[in-house]
């Protein structure tokens, strides 16, 4: 996914640069063709989120707008020829995106820039605005459409009848007639005064009132008889009204409109009224009124007006330079919008926070600053709106102030954009300041089992339990889990092989976990020394190797018997699942390996003969070794194996049926079927397909379902090897709950080497010697044994090169072989 989107983003970058260059050269058609290529291929991008698509579209619009700005500075005779064409392009792009308000904004500024020029006829200007009003009406912005119509009346000096105007005036009448008689002049006054805002005049109150009066005169003749009189009364109202006297009436009018669900108009009045109040020095009242309006409209589901209300307060605060209050205001707004699932408005609010929150200048400043971004991360995570900068700011906060992990904090700092860093204090200060910080306190939770449920964009639930006691602990994290950003980074590491240590990666996943989860994992201690703690992740989808999570002391898969369950399992359900099942006395094993040693074949031009396409002779060696190894154990009832070309489909199914193995171990090629992972299949030597479902059907005849061990290379239906098969492994793993298997042991990066074999030996040793019946613990012990052996080897090699004066620290980071093993199912399940 990331590879494709990477290529696409590069393509967009190049095309955008070319397009901008062509625009500067005046080649509008070529630029259009270049941008069209971006836009048409954008439609074909299935992986891209609608947010990214929107962003790319806005880039194209911006390029044209930049061209318009350039042309405005130009003085050549053909300037207007190019300018009109550029305007046509911009407006068409906006029209396609239904950005009617943007169209209105652009046309407004064009008209305002031309209005003072004598050679332009007033009719031309009005005719530019005519379609704008029509679009606004079409887009449902009736108040704005009416305001534009009124502005056109002022430009023309008369009312020109049109369909749009008639519709809007009818609509106006319908609103006015809902209001009481004494409210009507007030309503008209505000309407006309707002319409004058179109011209962005800096006139005083009396000049504005004059304009309002002349507009009333023009408009009066166009409206229907029933509202003509109240409109006429507005002129009188203007001359005698005092804001302090009519203040309460205004508030009542707003409330009335709110109750009538006419939030649009209520907002229009609030906007005007707040301005009047501020003009008269009643700032506090203006702010309270706007705040009440915003909250009320959000509660009633008119989020856009709520946002606009916040905007009013924001402007008033910004004029007074109150930055802290502004941040608090917009943070409050962001929380409201996150709760009401308004992604766009959330982003807009966060943009405002970005605008007003100054980058930290001292170490003391940085804690509240990054804490705010940690909160923003949580808000954005709920709606899946996070971006990379947010991610690194969040990591910086958690690493620095919650975990005191300087290494990761540095990494996060380095990953932040330069433009941001240049505005902050130098990094050195952070390092100095952090050096003396105490480590976070570790609590104590003693249970045997820890269940953590991670669902993307939702709160995290934790459940600590013991198999034999009734006591349990349930912890709810108010912070959500966010997987999307990590997935991106994860695929970058494996696809692009970015230089990121395994441990750092594990730390990043860990830091991405909500604070409550991190505290629990850190504090979790097993009740007994003999039993390693069990850790079960319940996830909505699997794409991250949870075993690789590094809690600062060790990888989880070396510390816990980790396993995962994929699907909508609830935490409450796990209380039943924690019940233990009895372990079998003797085990039956079936090994299947390298089915495709001879077929299918492909012609090799170099050797001039047909070569097998999917021969994995390493798997054969692995299985042979394991068989010999397993023979030593008394607790093994039988060992069977089917290797290479001899194992036909019928033979495999018959053997499974006859043997009823407790463990079915398959090493080789597995063809992964994306649409239904259950239909993923092995290709028998004679060319027949054995789907996993067929095997599972045979399992259904058994009294005890087996453990399925898949050490497989995944191949897509087209025959390509699937790299970074985290997601696919998760899909295969989730089959265990669908077909009630004891578990599925698989891996996301298939490795057939000595390490891998050692790990399997450790795993089988635990199970076959019956020292450990739990599968999760067996995997853990296998991993621990492998890592311990490697550490020992490393130490021996080191000791040989060590002389007396030097001391060397053995640094053992982790092992991908161990981490690549994933157990799906319950770690405490016995076999």
């Amino acid at each position: 996914m990331s590879q494709k989107s990477l290529n696409f983003s590069e393509f967009v970058k190049i095309q955008m640069l070319t397009g901008q260059k062509l625009l500067r050269q005046g080649s509008h058609s070529w630029a259009e063709a270049t941008f069209d290529e971006i836009l048409s291929s954008l439609e074909r991008q299935k992986d891209l989120s609608s947010k990214s698509k929107e962003y790319i579209r806005s880039l194209v619009v911006q390029a044209w707008q930049a061209r318009i700005q350039d042309l405005n500075r130009d003085q050549s005779p053909e300037k207007w020829l190019f300018l009109c064409d550029a305007y046509h392009h911009v407006l068409f792009l906006l029209f396609q995106n239904n950005s009617f308000k943007e169209i209105a904004k652009i046309c407004q500024s064009l008209v305002l820039s031309l209005i003072s020029q004598k050679e332009i006829s007033r009719e031309t200007l009005a005719s530019i605005l005519d379609p704008v009003s029509e679009f606004l009406l079409k887009g449902g912005f009736r108040r704005e459409a009416l305001e534009i119509q009124l502005a056109m009346m002022l430009i023309r000096g008369s009312a020109k009848s049109s369909d749009t105007l008639n519709k809007l005036l009818q609509y106006l009448a319908s609103i006015v007639l809902k209001l009481g008689l004494n409210f009507r002049p007030m309503f008209f006054y505000v309407l006309f005064d707002n319409a004058i805002d179109f011209f962005k005049l800096e006139a005083d109150r009396s000049a504005r009132n004059e304009l309002v009066s002349s507009l009333i005169e023009t408009c009066r003749n166009a409206v229907s008889l029933d509202i003509r009189d109240p409109m006429a009364q507005t002129s009188k109202f203007i001359h005698r009204f005092q804001i302090r006297e009519v203040k309460d009436d205004f508030v009542k009018l707003v409330q009335k409109l709110e109750i009538l669900n006419e939030f649009d108009w209520a907002f229009g009045i609030i906007r005007n009224f707040a301005r009047l109040l501020i003009e008269n020095g009643l700032v506090e009242e203006a702010l309270t009124l706007s705040q009440e309006f915003s909250e009320f409209s959000i509660r009633r589901g008119f989020y856009q007006f709520g946002f606009q209300g916040y905007g009013l307060i924001g402007n008033a605060l910004a004029e007074r330079g109150k930055k802290n209050e502004l941040v608090a205001l917009w943070y409050g707004a962001a929380r409201m919008f996150a709760r009401s699932q308004q992604a766009d408005l959330l982003n807009e609010s966060i943009k405002k926070i970005d605008e007003y929150l100054d980058p930290p200048q001292t170490f003391a400043d940085s804690q509240p600053y990054f804490e705010t971004y940690n909160e923003i991360w949580n808000l954005k995570s709920r709606l899946g709106q996070t971006i990379e900068v947010d991610f690194w700011k969040m990591i910086l906060f958690r690493a620095l102030f919650e975990e005191r992990d300087i290494k990761i904090a540095k990494l996060a700092w380095n990953s932040l954009p330069e433009a941001f860093k240049s505005k902050c204090h130098p990094t050195g200060q952070i390092e100095d300041a952090i050096a003396n910080q105490p480590k976070p306190l570790v609590g104590k939770i003693t249970h045997a089992r820890l269940v953590i449920r991670l669902v993307d964009q939702q709160d995290v639930d934790i459940y600590c339990t013991s198999p034999k006691s009734e006591e349990y602990l349930e912890i709810h994290s108010p912070e959500p889990w966010n997987c999307a950003e990590l997935e991106e980074i994860f695929s970058q590491i494996l696809a692009r092989q970015r230089d990121l240590e395994l441990m750092v990666f594990g730390r990043l996943i860990y830091l991405n976990l909500p604070g409550e989860v991190r505290r629990t994992i850190r504090s979790f201690k097993s009740e007994s020394v003999q039993v390693p703690p069990h850790l079960l992740f319940i996830m909505d989808k699997f794409s991250l190797p949870v075993g690789l999570i590094h809690d600062g002391t060790s990888f989880l898969n070396l510390k816990f018997a980790v396993s995962s369950l994929i699907g909508p399992t609830s935490l409450r359900g796990t209380s039943e699942m924690t019940q233990d099942n009895p372990a079998a006395e003797k085990l039956r094993l079936l090994f299947i390996a390298n089915l495709n040693a001879k077929d299918p074949r492909i012609w090799d031009e170099k050797t001039q003969k047909e070569e097998p396409l999917y021969c994995l002779s390493e798997t054969e060696e692995e299985v042979n070794d394991l068989i010999q190894f397993a023979h030593k154990y008394n607790n093994v009832e039988s060992i069977s194996y089917l290797i290479g070309a001899q194992a036909t489909k019928d033979k495999i199914l018959a053997t499974i049926r006859e043997l009823q193995p407790n463990i079915l171990h398959y090493a080789g090629i597995l063809f992964y079927v994306e649409e239904n992972p259950g239909e993923s299949y092995l290709l028998a030597p004679e060319g027949k397909i054995i789907s996993l479902e067929e095997i599972f059907q045979v399992f259904e005849e058994f009294p005890v379902r087996p453990l399925l061990v898949l050490n497989v290379k995944l191949v897509s239906k087209k025959g390509d090897f699937i790299l970074n098969a985290g997601y696919e492994a998760g899909q295969l793993g989730s089959l265990q709950s669908k077909y009630f298997l004891t578990g599925v042991l698989t891996r996301f990066a298939p490795i057939f080497n000595a390490d891998s074999l050692a790990l399997f030996k450790g795993f089988y040793d635990c199970l076959l010697s019956r020292k450990v019946p739990e599968i999760g613990v067996a995997v853990l012990k296998g991993g621990q044994q492998l890592v311990a052996d490697k550490a020992l080897q490393q130490a021996i090699t080191m000791s040989r090169t060590l002389d007396d004066k030097e001391t060397k620290v053995i640094h053992f980071g982790g092992d991908l072989t161990a981490a690549s093993f994933l157990l799906f199912g319950l770690p405490w399940r016995k076999i």
């Binding site: 070319t18 062509l22 005046g26 063709a33 207007w80 020829l81 305007y87 046509h88 068409f92």
Partner: protein
């Protein structure tokens, strides 16, 4: 020697479908060579106008809304370009001539005009032009001359076969001792325009994302097109890895274009019309037919004077290729292809020489109402001045 030493030197106009040549008679080459195109402000290539009223601003801001010649190059990417001699847009022709007269500081009321008529549709064109020149510009007198005679005149000959490979017409005409054959000129529907389209199609096949306009494609064609003697040989060479025909260039959007076999295949329809689904006979066969319009005894004279003119005749190697093909048709006759330098202006040069050597004589068409109109124009001008005073 000019016809009339006292009257102003006439202006010779050769209105081709793609290029117009204008210049004073008697000069060696036309003073002005300009594309026969017009563009109008507001006639944008981009048609999806959300607010059409924006174009009204152009009327207020742009004084002269028509673009010709060099000015067209500046707006080629923005506006639709019209070849008005192809679309028979007479209003555009009027604007065009007005613009050119202003530019060359020529008073049409005092300047006789010589127009070169194409072999095809000459009669209708001359009617329209005469009316336009007399009624609109009040030109004192006018003279029409057929292009084929101009061409022969440059060779001081009265016999020959003229193959004019124009942008809009490809015409072959044989003249013997100053007389046309009874059959008249032969036409071929493989024209410069169709060759350009064919090249565009071939480029499109290779590079899906290329969206060049007709004008840009013509420029590409003029740069790359070339004739080869044997197409199959050339194709084999390319298949065997030869880079002889490779031509690289970069389009305005940064995309690079590499052409090889397209270079000669695009002009091949002159010799293999079926490549562009034309049922016309190949060019050599048509020339042969034009020669055969006259008797056996006269044919050697015609075959030794095959004259190439028009934009298509500038494509490199055309003489060699045509010579090779003609010899297949007339193996026992001496064939001579004449392609003089500056052959794209051959008609104009011929007309200029015709005037210099007094070839027009008293064949001018006089404007009967010239003096009356001149008087009227003067009066109305004086009236205006007085009113202003």
């Amino acid at each position: 020697m000019a016809d009339d030493a006292e009257s102003p030197t006439p202006l010779i106009l050769d209105l081709g479908s793609a290029t117009t040549r204008i210049g004073r008679a008697g000069e060696e080459l036309p003073g002005t060579v300009i594309t026969t195109e017009i563009a109008r402000a507001g006639d944008y290539r981009f048609k999806k106008k959300v607010i059409p009223a924006l174009d009204n601003l152009l009327e207020d801001f742009i004084k002269d809304p028509f673009y010709f010649g060099d000015a067209i190059h500046r707006v080629r990417d923005l506006l639709n370009i019209e070849r008005f001699m192809v679309t028979n847009n007479w209003t555009a022709l009027e604007r065009f001539l007005e613009h050119q007269f202003n530019l060359l500081a020529i008073d049409p009321q005092q300047t006789p005009m010589i127009f070169i008529l194409p072999a095809k549709e000459g009669a209708t064109l001359s009617d329209r032009i005469q009316r336009l020149m007399f009624e609109r510009f009040n030109v004192p007198k006018i003279f029409f001359v057929a292009s084929v005679f101009c061409v022969l005149y440059t060779l001081s000959s009265d016999s020959g076969v003229v193959a004019s490979l124009g942008n809009h017409h490809t015409v072959i005409q044989s003249i013997l001792k100053g007389f046309e054959s009874e059959v008249g000129p032969l036409e071929m529907d493989v024209t410069g325009e169709r060759i350009t389209d064919y090249l565009g199609m071939m480029i499109g096949k290779r590079h899906i994302n290329v969206r060049a306009s007709a004008g840009e494609l013509q420029e590409i064609k003029e740069k790359v097109a070339i004739f080869v003697r044997d197409v199959m040989d050339a194709l084999n060479m390319i298949d065997n890895g030869s880079t002889k025909f490779q031509f690289d260039f970069t389009l305005p959007n940064g995309e690079s274009l590499m052409l090889d076999k397209e270079r000669f295949l695009c002009v091949e329809p002159y010799f293999q019309p079926n490549r562009i689904n034309s049922s016309a006979q190949p060019l050599p066969a048509l020339i042969g037919e034009a020669i055969k319009q006259f008797g056996l005894a006269q044919r050697p004279e015609l075959a030794s004077k095959i004259i190439l003119t028009g934009g298509g005749s500038i494509i490199p190697n055309i003489v060699e290729r045509l010579d090779y093909e003609m010899k297949k048709i007339f193996p026992n006759m001496e064939v001579k292809i004449i392609a003089p330098a500056g052959r794209e202006h051959l008609e104009w040069i011929g007309a200029s020489q015709l005037y210099s050597k007094g070839g027009i004589g008293d064949k001018w068409i006089p404007n009967k109402n010239w003096e009356k109109r001149l008087q009227k124009a003067k009066e109305s001008k004086d009236g205006k001045e007085e009113r202003v005073k």
